[in-house]
Assembly symmetry: C2
Homo-oligomer: 247 residues x 2
């Protein structure tokens, strides 16, 4: 196997609601002198997908209910933000000072339902940015327009490990969850690791090139990764509720 390249698309302008994201990504590739190949994977941060899809909410239009007021006091978070988090979630898993972990309506267990207030554009201090309505569908649309596989990435914390990593919350054109059941290792033994979270590996690899998820570099081209297996969407990475041992 030869080398895999992780190539940041650093010179992409600000994305605003209604923008044609595929066109902006095409331009950003062109600026870097890159032409999409069929086996390329474009990793796009959730933030620019949400921005293009207009998933902003003006915080002063949000009226917190009693549960949001209670959880806001408990977590020391803006109750309007907490109201938005609740409206995007199906369950609150943990709420302690500075921490609010929920099950997002997409099934994702994450802090603050993935709602973002940082770096959403100059002069927008009072806006929040929700996750895309359906990230797998967003990935599908981008993949069709650009002619390559897509991963939509987001930053995630972990219960027992410090620091954030990136995961794939949307995917198209590749197995987000790569099922290797039945394969054997070099000694002919059945693999112990049988399912690989490929979209999460790709999102984390890309995060190395986006300034570890904090620099505002919005997209990364992954070139040279040999996609194998049957395509599956990122929703396949969500562990079914009945298998959850840590609710």
């Amino acid at each position: 196997m030869s080398a895999i390249g992780i190539i940041p698309l650093a010179r992409m302008g600000e994305v605003t609601p209604g923008d044609n994201l595929a066109a902006l990504l095409s331009e950003a590739l062109e600026v870097e002198g890159l032409r999409i190949r069929a086996d390329d994977i474009l990793v796009v941060t959730q933030k620019i997908v949400s921005k293009a899809e207009g998933r902003f909410v003006a915080l002063d239009t949000v009226v917190p209910g009693s549960e949001a007021l209670r959880l806001g006091a408990l977590t020391r978070k803006d109750p309007r933000l907490v109201e938005l988090v609740l409206s995007e979630s199906t369950a609150v898993l943990r709420a302690v000072p500075n921490v609010l972990i929920v099950r997002h309506r997409l099934g994702l267990v994450m802090a603050n339902a993935g709602i973002d207030r940082s770096n959403i554009g100059p002069g927008t201090g009072e806006r929040a940015l929700l996750l895309p309505e359906d990230p797998d569908a967003s990935a599908e649309r981008l993949g069709k327009a650009l002619g390559c596989a897509i991963v939509i990435s987001d930053s995630f914390g972990r219960p027992w490990r410090m620091g954030v990593v990136a995961v794939g919350i949307g995917a198209s054109g590749l197995p987000a969850l790569h099922d290797r059941r039945g394969e054997r290792d070099r000694d002919g033994r059945t693999l112990e690791v049988t399912q690989v979270a490929t979209a999460d590996l790709l999102a984390s690899a890309a995060a190395l090139a986006t300034g570890e998820g904090a620099e505002g570099i919005p997209a990364v081209l992954v070139r040279g990764f040999a996609v194998r297996g049957v395509p599956s969407p990122a929703i396949a990475l969500t562990r079914p509720l009945e298998q959850d041992l840590f609710q």
Copy 2:
């Protein structure tokens, strides 16, 4: 920022107890025509570090105690393996059929205490392979011998997501946990993401090139990643017990 290269060292031979791992890695780099640069990062799988350090245990020398017998029946796992898991752990977090999640003595919350039975060499079906005694110290030794940063990687499951990713269980020469508190984003806003699990991102990026952790490719060179911040060992990635909301 320019591209990051993820380069598998595919032509490395079997590692056996007592081997000089740094020398074997040097040879594997040479075979690929690579010369180590000071800003390279070598990601090495836990398996070959454990093998070189002779962390094998012959299963027929293990006598399961009553707790191992009970948990073996519950989880449908070999009670001798369960005895080893318990001997490597400080707590059992969850035990259900086919699942045994413990807190490893290093603080890692993981399945089976990271003990491996697959692909540990031909004709060794009855041996188990424990994690290195002190993976950060192993990384430190390798880094000194090779003159670059080191991450020792392992496959990890996650409570709410399907499939495995890779994490860094040992590190030297880089911030395993990159503390960005105080930094600001492009709009001058304080970063919401303030700590990044850099060693875990590197391990996951490398896993793309090792056949996603299952092919037996034992090491990967990461070239072009700009290491920033104060070096910290992988133990810094373990969330302190008092912050654990999901025990």
